[in-house]
């Protein structure tokens, strides 16, 4: 199968006061339709930088090189306007801190609507009905009321769902999720992870970025491990867990046992609540 998204020797460097520093040092990975690629790595290893670089989200102080293609089209040579239309259209993205990602001064409905308007020539009525439809699909209760709310009036989990809903509303070929569960409590994390598994089954390609092996293991079919801007290991979850060559990856795998325990505890907690 041909990949939806492919990065080859992707490099990102930044020019600061002390000269140029390479943040991503030539990484290659790809993802196919209906599959989920997990990018695993500790904080600061260049996971976000590589995706921001690929999608044209970095300012002029950064330099991005290598090759990135989406459905066979080269991205790094595209104009800012072409990249803009791609973002939120063919490529949906979900970020880490849902609580700070929305503009505090506008209602949620307004921010959903402006995203739709940026990509489709829909009328006001159509934007509204599609917004409601999207919220319902994301299982959000009282969608009419939610549209009138300001971001600070909603929970992190709810905003994260809305983010996913906005990204999926344009039927993207690729969904990039950058630490989508990190800011959430354990129960909400699990609900959000299930959402990604469902999305994958609808034949969208997913790139799932996390520093948490456990979260990655639940969603990803294949995993690449980032360390200091380089890929140090790749393979499926079982490979990472049992046969990782890289010492850093092994450390992550060992930590997992402890994390798993806390997950189980959270799940048990959830069951007692509903019992």
């Amino acid at each position: 199968m041909t990949p939806v998204f492919e990065a080859k020797e992707l490099k990102v460097s930044v020019t600061g006061r002390r000269g140029e520093r390479e943040l991503v040092k030539g990484v290659s990975f790809s993802v196919e339709p209906g599959r989920c690629l997990g990018i695993l790595g500790e904080s600061g290893s260049g996971k976000s930088m590589s995706m921001k670089g690929a999608m044209g989200l970095l300012d002029r102080s950064f330099r991005v090189s290598g090759r990135v293609s989406l459905q066979g089209e080269e991205l790094l040579t595209k104009s800012p306007e072409e990249l803009r239309r791609m973002r939120g259209g063919k490529v949906g993205m979900v970020l880490q801190n849902p609580m700070t990602c929305f503009d505090p001064l506008y209602r949620i409905g307004n921010q959903i609507g402006e995203t739709f308007a940026a990509h489709q020539g829909w009328s006001r009525a159509e934007i509204r009905s599609r917004s409601l439809e999207m919220l319902e699909r994301m299982k959000i209760r009282n969608p009419e009321e939610v549209l009138e709310k300001y971001p600070h009036q909603l929970s992190g989990g709810m905003l994260q769902r809305i983010m996913i809903g906005i990204a999926m509303a344009m039927k993207p070929a690729l969904l990039i999720a950058d630490e989508p569960t990190t800011a959430l409590d354990a129960i909400t994390q699990l609900e959000i992870l299930n959402e990604f598994i469902r999305i994958k089954e609808e034949n969208t390609a997913v790139i799932f970025i996390s520093h948490d092996l456990n979260a990655v293991s639940l969603a990803a079919d294949e995993i690449v491990v980032f360390h200091q801007g380089m890929i140090v290991d790749r393979g499926d979850f079982r490979h990472i867990l049992h046969r990782a060559k890289d010492p850093y990856t092994r450390l992550l795998a060992e930590k997992r046992t402890a994390v798993m325990r806390s997950y189980r505890r959270a799940l048990e907690g959830k069951e007692t609540i509903y019992a």
Partner: protein, 312 residues
């Protein structure tokens, strides 16, 4: 929300009382005897003990300090600010009312210049940070903050009025008279607000909501104007509002440079003539303006921020 506004209004009352008391106290700390000053100002040829005593009686100066304060305060609340020493036929309220429109006109024109220039310039400086426009404006800001207003005023008078003869250098009446003094008053505020808006916008650009707006593929213009500028203006609102009483108070020097017949000119001539009631009332007025505008813009900011506003 209503309760918040009412609470803020109630909290302003002790503040206003404090302002009036401090204002009254300072004027009464002046070492010379107001009765004697009043007689001298009215060009009494020989100042006798009896004349001073009679004047003290008339002005109520023989009463204890606190009684005088409350008498004065009660008068102020009724709109009676006393009588000018220089011209006993005129009330202080009448004098201020005569000069207030000219000052308000000057302050309003200055505020308009500040708003019209600093918002777009600050915006462009932030958008094209470190570009040629931003560099030039940074230089201009640096130079203009270093120059005192009266000096710039004199320079403008010399350049525009004396050398080029395109604008009148003193007096009032037409809008052309307004240009030089208004520009002089606004100059230092323009640089302050360009800097404030520029830095505020740059700070906002680093926020997550801007990254996410880009992630959603919003057009650059919408992100800059609808989101970044609006959020920056929101934080600048209180500073802007507070600059209105500052502008009114700040006209004092410029009015004198340009012989603008406003409160500033009245205040300076009252200081020269030791017309204490007028000075006292002027100081009180400025103090009250600061309290009122502070209150007003604080409430405005709360009302316009969904995070602070409580849904009823």
């Amino acid at each position: 929300m209503k309760r918040y506004v009412v609470r803020r209004l109630l909290m302003a009352i002790p503040l206003l009382a404090a302002v009036s008391f401090i204002c009254f106290m300072f004027i009464n700390l002046i070492p010379s005897n107001p009765a004697e000053v009043a007689l001298r100002v009215q060009q009494m040829p020989v100042i006798t003990e009896e004349a001073v005593a009679r004047m003290e009686e008339m002005l109520g100066l023989n009463k204890p300090f606190l009684v005088r304060y409350f008498d004065w305060l009660a008068g102020c609340l009724k709109g009676d600010f006393g009588i000018s020493y220089v011209n006993p036929a005129r009330t202080v309220a009448g004098e201020l009312a005569r000069c207030l429109p000219a000052t308000l006109q000057l302050a309003a024109a200055s505020f308009a210049i500040v708003a019209v220039l600093s918002v777009p310039i600050g915006f462009l400086c932030a958008v094209y940070k470190d570009g040629w426009f931003d560099r030039i404006m940074r230089g201009v800001i640096f130079i203009s903050t270093a120059m005192p207003a009266y000096w710039v005023g004199l320079l403008l008078m010399w350049g525009m009025g004396v050398k080029l003869r395109i604008l009148p250098t003193n007096g009032s009446g037409t809008w052309r008279h307004l240009i030089l003094p208004a520009f002089t008053v606004s100059l230092s505020y323009i640089s302050t607000y360009i800097r404030l808006i520029r830095n505020n916008m740059l700070e906002n650009m680093k926020q997550d909501y801007v990254l996410y707006a880009n992630v959603r593929g919003l057009p650059q213009r919408a992100i800059l104007v609808r989101h970044i500028l609006k959020n920056s203006m929101h934080t600048c609102i209180v500073a802007m509002g507070m600059s209105i009483p500052q502008l009114i108070a700040g006209t004092i020097v410029v009015e004198n440079v340009f012989s603008w017949p406003g409160l500033g000119t009245l205040c300076i001539s009252s200081i020269f003539n030791r017309d204490y009631p007028v000075i006292q009332t002027y100081v009180l007025l400025i103090g009250v303006l600061f309290v009122v505008f502070n209150l007003l813009f604080d409430i405005l900011q709360t009302v316009s921020d969904p995070r602070l506003r409580r849904e009823e």
